[in-house]
Amino acid sequence: MWGGISSELFQFNGSSVVHEDIKSSPPFGVGFRYQFNNRLRFDMTGEFRGKSLFIAQDKYPGGNGTFNRASSDPQGQFLPRTNEYTADIESWVGLWNAYADLGTYFGFAPYVGTGIGVASISVLGLKDVNVPNGGVAYGADNTETNFAWAAYGGVAYDVNESVTLDLSYRYTALGEAKSGTVTAFDGTSSYAGLDLGRVTSHDLMLGMRWKLGYAPVPAPMPVAFK
């Protein structure tokens, strides 16, 4: 993208995304869980989702326009061009979750859950390469803090009285991700940023829970009675 293209004009002139993707990175986190009763429990978790590579390509056919186009184009027109974007995306997520246990079957306890919270999602090191135009632009790093929510389904297994293993699927909505101002390498043009849209994630997670303060019940003292 080059030369301050406005969104409406860009849409009008038939821009299309050829490909977009975020590569996988392993999330990890910690939290505290409170067992309300045999069926209901709550927890609070914080997690870090490390840098994931974002890549995308788009193209636009060119046409008449009123925006500031590349200096080699005739006034009021722009030529067909492409863009290739790369950036790193990383985020912190804090969630308050509630779970409903569905019983225990052969030692396995399936459950469902949902959570709400906050996601801080950063777009780092955005690069926008326009090969036909011979241009390169770089985006400033930017962090957006959004409302986040999640839905869970999983199964837990008690290894012993104090340790539980937990395998779950989670759908997570992290909110919108945006870059900072994108500026051409020679400083001749810039635009406010690239809106990547809403970021969601399908997560497969393996967890472990430790019961705090747990200690085996000691055997009763022998009774000495005469």
Binding site: M1, S24, F54, D195, S201
Partner: protein
Amino acid sequence: MEQTRSTLLATGLAMAPLTVAHAVDLGLPPPPPIVAAPYVSCTGPIYLKGFIGAANPVVGGHQFRAVSV
């Protein structure tokens, strides 16, 4: 008379320990056995949780929006 009274008093004092010993044999119910109280956790049903995962993130929508300065 005085000597008789002293003799009875001395006899009573001498038998006092024996009366205590005899109380054991009166068939009173034994006291309840002393059992240690179960261990009570100081933190209640609270757990520490840790997790790792594999994420498959997705960008929403298929249209970028670049806003001019």
